[in-house]
């Protein structure tokens, strides 16, 4: 690699600076809150991408895990536990559930895995609706206060935003390290050639299981941020639509890329919250955007844009070199 900062590095530095200064240039509290949503949905999508992108395992039950964490946090808080205890308790509960989900779903791969995760997600959704003594049914559970870690008031939009940003950046670093690690390479290997991986001495099932657990951990972290953000949890959060939405974030942005799920999360959250203020049929618009992505860049927004950029750059350079070569020709 050269010492010169590449376009990629500059873009990342600009994005980082924009994120850090965001509350100062965003036109209002509402938009700061939308940005917080983008951040925790991005963590959620990063978590799902571990399975979908790097593991080749498509889950349609992740909203169930997300919901379990949110419900667990809200329930433990309503029992009178402190924020720290509730958060730790919710993490333990959701990791336990993730392990059970993984053990059940990993009996299959491909379509079978999708169907089992779909069924498990629907079970959670059904329980959220019907197990009224625990979940409050349709009424859901309210969360009365937000915590104030290290003196940062999470009741304040900027405070919540910066806390989300710190956790988001940690998640990005964790995923970056993971995908470049030997374990990450092994996970990608089980995606591409499970049979060969087994013959090479890898425990394919165990690799997939631990990938599920890491995915579940990121999902749980996002779920905790979500429930503190909305201060309310209802069965809607665990629905199939919610699972599909986060899957679309990953697929639209670009599975098996680091930036893809983040861009996908930003796209969905912005259309859902901001554009819906101007266009009544925002669902239609979101659908149209997805159709456009699938047709124009089926590999996802991030890899697709990179490809178009490279093609454009190459076309520009070849034209320029033709012009230069033409001018250098000796006159007859």
């Amino acid at each position: 690699m050269s010492g010169m900062p590449s376009a990629r590095h500059i873009a990342l530095a600009v994005a980082f600076a924009a994120l850090v200064t965001l509350p100062f240039w965003m036109p209002g509290i509402y938009y700061i809150n939308v940005s917080s949503q983008v951040l925790f949905y991005a963590i959620f999508a990063l978590g799902l991408n571990i399975l979908v992108g790097y593991g080749g395992l498509v889950s349609l039950g992740h909203a169930g895990l997300f919901g379990i964490t949110a419900y667990a946090t809200a329930y433990l808080l309503s029992m009178g536990l402190g924020h720290t205890a509730a958060i730790l308790g919710a993490l333990i509960i959701s990791l336990g559930c993730t392990a059970i989900f993984a053990a059940l779903a990993l009996r299959a791969t491909g379509i079978g895995f999708i169907m089992i995760t779909l069924a498990l997600g629907q079970i959670i959704w059904g329980l959220a609706y019907r197990w009224i003594s625990l979940t409050g049914g349709d009424n859901g559970i309210n969360v009365k206060t937000r915590p104030a870690p290290f003196g940062v008031d999470l009741g304040d939009p900027s405070g919540f935003y910066y806390t989300s940003l710190v956790i988001f950046l940690i998640a990005v670093v964790v995923v970056t390290i993971f995908v470049r690690s030997p374990f990450g390479a092994a996970l990608k290997g089980t995606r591409d050639q499970p049979r060969r991986m087994n013959a090479l001495g890898y425990h394919v099932w165990a690799i997939r299981f631990w990938a599920c657990v890491l995915s579940g951990l990121l999902t749980a972290v996002a779920g905790i941020l979500f429930v503190y953000y909305t201060q309310f949890i209802s069965p809607q959060t665990t629905s199939l639509t919610a699972s599909a939405e986060v899957l679309l974030m990953v697929i639209a942005g670009g599975p098996a890329t680091l930036l893809g799920p983040i861009v996908g999360a930003a796209l969905v959250v912005v259309v859902k919250n901001v554009v819906s203020g101007y266009i009544e049929r925002w669902n239609f618009l979101l659908g149209a955007i997805f159709v456009a992505i699938v047709i124009l860049m089926p590999e996802g927004l991030v890899p697709g844009t990179a490809r178009l950029w490279r093609q454009g750059w190459r076309a520009f350079r070849s034209r320029r070199s033709v012009v230069l070569a033409g001018s250098a020709e000796p006159k007859p």
Partner: protein, 245 residues
Amino acid sequence: MSALTVSKLCKAFGGLRVTTDVNLNVEPGERRLIIGPNGAGKTTLFNLITGELTPDSGSVHLLDRDITGVPSRRRAHLGMARTYQIITLFARDTIVRNVTLALLGLSNERWNPLTVIDRNTDLIDRAHEALQRVGLRHIADRPLSQTSYGERRRVEIAMALAQNPKVLLLDEPFAGLSIDERRDVQETLRAIPRDVTIVMIEHNMDVALDFAERITLLHFGKVIVEGTRAEVVADPHTREVYLGH
């Protein structure tokens, strides 16, 4: 001691008996060739030996240790490596990453989620050495998608060799190769030291006969003839079922 012993191995897919009472005894350092017409059960026998299929009855011993119930992935750790008849490589990765994955499979490092695999110079150096053995070191960083069929065959062999196996199972390593490529692979195989026992399935009789010391002829899942090169070629059964006259 023998390197690989197969006793009374049986396997049926429904009513189709693909392996019937197969016995095989391969000495350490031996070069064994398994021949037989299409559908004779050669690859099935390999899958039974490597544990990718579970036998209905019978046993498999590796270096006098009973491995019949040992999962396939453990057998790699015990010194068994194989190549596939249908190329089974990581198409999105570079050649050297393919071999690195083979090395990583036997290392405890494979569970490590915190280091950068591209900075594991020990692993990558060893991958380059394995590629040197098959003559591909100069294109180690090329993506697999930009390699020729013959080069991929050699990557298959490099991955198996990288694992430093005691018993190496080669499933048609010459399949689909041009004459030049065949010669390259032949040289690669000839250079493998004698502490590696090799069992090879091959259709191409010229190269195979040249390589093997002992030959086992399979037909309809049964061992029909077994013996030295001369014995098997001279046997009337061989002419009948294999050479076709």
